[in-house]
């Protein structure tokens, strides 16, 4: 007697079996038992215990996150310097209106941000032992700056609009960078740099 193949059984399970296979499975106890065994095997596979990673890989992923964040920050800082230089030149041209003033403020904020970034890099104490309070403060400031950078980057992909809002973001960034520099200086003193 011809029985169902594994292809037939899998098709039966998926509800895609041929007419012959469906009829045969109804009549043949052997094939019904095979189908049951297939269901049980799959149920057992689903019930296998979860395998846990033997080592924590978060430290490596986190390091990459931080490296990427620093790269982006430097990119913004560098871009800010270039923009500041260009706009400072433009301001020398007489007859600029309120838009010119906004541009000047924007370029100043970007310039300050870049200068503060250089100071932060000068006090880079990654890997040094920090107090928990300092580490938490640094992480908080870096996270807040990352959020602002993310906003600024999104704006970079859109048409340049609402420059007032952009200026506010840059001012917030400068304020946070100042705080970051202060914490970095305190940290450097603490670890004896």
């Amino acid at each position: 007697m011809m029985h169902c193949t594994m292809d037939d059984l899998l098709a039966l399970r998926a509800g895609e079996a041929s007419v012959w296979a469906r009829r045969h499975a109804e009549e043949c106890a052997t094939c019904r038992a095979e189908l049951d065994a297939l269901y049980q095997r799959v149920a057992q596979l689903k019930a296998l215990p979860a395998l846990h990673p033997p080592r924590d890989r978060w430290a490596i992923v986190r390091q990459t996150v931080r490296t990427e964040r620093n790269r982006r920050r430097r990119t913004w800082g560098g871009w800010g310097l270039a923009a500041a230089a260009a706009l400072a030149g433009a301001l020398l041209v007489p007859g600029l209106g309120s838009n010119g003033k906004l541009q000047a403020e924007l370029s100043m904020a970007k310039n300050q941000s870049a200068t503060l970034q250089d100071q932060v890099d000068g006090y880079d104490v990654d890997g040094r032992v920090l107090t928990g309070r300092m580490a938490a403060k640094l992480a908080e400031l870096e996270d807040r700056i990352a959020v602002i950078d993310s906003d600024l980057e999104r704006r970079g992909t859109l048409k340049p609009q609402a420059q007032d809002a952009e200026l506010q973001l840059w001012k917030q960034r400068v304020d946070l960078m100042r705080q970051l520099v202060n914490v970095r200086i305190s940290t450097a003193r603490y670890v004896g740099l």
Partner: protein, 178 residues
């Protein structure tokens, strides 16, 4: 292992903004399911660990492109499955892995009283991946064929051959489906 992880939208938004604590929370939520998936598809523990790491580097890099279509776990799982399959393909190119290994390899006798987990381990990487993705993770043959860059019939035949092999290895039934 079935995963039904609901991740709060606010956590995803924070991760998208680059918040390190939120990214770590996502890592902690998904590290075991991702590792489990990779380890079930790959024979080697170190390879599975590497897939875990590569998956989260990709998640960190691309989280801002996630627009909330479907569950986040589905998005992460697809990245993990793709990374694991890429590794299998690399190994196949290097070692010319057979599509299906004969039972009896690895010092095992046909019909020996071994449990399903060990029988599953005896399958080739390709067969194991198809079985795991289809039967446990719930992928369709169409989705698997797309992930693997193969045809739907390849996925179906791999699944049938893998189940026939599991059945024989476990010494189940004698009458049908040979």
């Amino acid at each position: 292992m079935t995963v039904a992880l609901a991740v709060p939208d606010i956590l995803v938004a924070r991760a998208q903004a680059g918040d390190e604590a939120a990214l770590e929370a996502l890592f902690r939520a998904f590290e075991t399911p991702v590792y489990n998936l990779a380890r079930r598809m790959l024979r080697n523990v170190e390879d599975a660990e590497d897939v875990l790491q590569e998956t989260f580097l990709e998640v960190v890099k691309s989280i801002r492109t996630y627009r909330g279509e479907g569950y986040l776990w589905g998005w992460v799982r697809r990245i993990a499955a793709t990374k694991a399959l890429m590794r299998i393909r690399r190994e196949q190119l290097r070692a010319t892995e057979p599509l299906d290994e004969e039972p009896g390899k690895h010092g095992m006798h046909v019909g020996a009283n071994i449990d399903l987990e060990r029988a599953f381990e005896q399958l080739s990487d390709t067969s194991r991946s198809v079985v795991w993705l289809h039967d446990v993770e719930g992928y369709t043959h169409e989705e698997i064929s797309e992930l693997m860059g193969k045809s739907v019939s390849f996925s179906k035949s791999q699944l049938a051959r893998a189940h026939a092999r599991l059945r024989r290895t476990l010494g189940e039934g004698e009458g049908a489906s040979t």
